[in-house]
Amino acid sequence: MNSGFTLWLFFVSMGASALGGMLGMASGIFIVPILILFGHVEIHTAIGASLISVIACSCGGVAPYLKGRLTNIRLAIVLEVATTLGAITGVLLSGIIPVVYLFFLFAAILFLSAQQMLAKRGDPVIATGVVPSGWGTTLHLHSSYPDVKQKQEIPYHVQRVPMGMMLMYGAGLISALLGIGIGVLKIPAMDTALRLPIKVSSATSNFMIGVTAAASAGAYFMRGTIIPSVAGPVALGSVLGAVIGAHILMRTSNAKLRLFFVVVLVLLGIQMLLQALGIHWRVG
């Protein structure tokens, strides 16, 4: 281990996390492919390191959402039962699944993220006159959040909790297998199944991902696949990058930034596919 590589890991993670933070994205989806493709880090080591940075960015970034009362912590703890179970399933599978399939899966997730980045998200239309029922009511999950612009409380209902939990189980599984956050699967689960307002959905999933990643990171830590000389600089770089990203969030054109991300995601996806197919690309 040399200090040049430590610094490279630190600055690359900081850059990826700062860019990701500008769009409110978890950086794991960039960090894992970059570590593998450019740093020639072994895939399981890259996944372990990325999981720590996922925890770090989740824990370090939740305070403003909690204080702004955007996080639904009751819903979070209910869904965490599913995400952590999914994470442990992912850990068990990661020991069995051949590395080639991990590359294919990663490429698929990268393409899916690119596609979702192009699509527009809107708040779910709230059906009036519908009497809320089901798990959301029994567990008192319905809530409200303060809207700063309109200066009022906006109530919302949590719907289809069992379906949301099934999707969250899958999200936890993929998160543990690939060492990434659950941004990609959060959208179908939280927007489509649970029908949460976007702000609540983002805040709640950001709150949950820390515990989800801790479930798999705990297992990988015990297994010995979290290498401190890699995970240390990656985690520290990501934390600082997230802070920087949050500060430059307002200053860039969102549409241009989005397009840039779509291109980066597609390029990384293609590289991961080539890697899976055994075609090694010499960079630089």
């Binding site: 281990m1 040399n2 200090s3 430590t6 630190f10 720590i52 925890i55 770090a56 989740s58 824990c59 370090g60 939740v62 305070a63 909690l66 204080k67 009362r69 996080t71 639904n72 912590i73 009751r74 819903l75 703890i77 209910v78 965490e80 039962v81 952590t84 179970l85 994470a87 442990i88 850990v91 068990l92 020991g95 809320p132 567990l139 008192h140 319905h142 809530s143 409200s144 109530p155 820390g210 515990v211 801790a214 479930a215 798999s216 990171a217 705990g218 297992a219 990988y220 830590f221 015990m222 297994r223 010995g224 979290i226 401190p228 000389s229 995970a231 240390g232 985690a235 520290l236 934390v239």
Partner: protein, 110 residues
Amino acid sequence: MMNQSDSNHPYLESLLAYVLQYGSWAASATIGVGLALSLISAHAPPFSAMKIVTVGLALFILLPVFRVFIMFVVFLNDRDYKFSAIAALVLAILALGVVVGLRAAKMVAG
């Protein structure tokens, strides 16, 4: 009209914000100190430098676990037994993860 304060826990929310914020700084600082030590003495890294980094990484893994534990205690204190049971279940699953990791480590070693 539904009860709007149903799922708001102002005290718990600010407590969690405080713990997660300062916990993150503590873990980051620990990793930073370890890395700085290893960079300063790059040619003969002191035995303890990477140990310090490992402690910082472990702190990050424990931080969300501690957060669930706080939720468990606060829900219990509020006599919200259903939710303290859910928090306990999440803690049990997190413990299961550690057991799975340990067994995998033994299988590799043995």
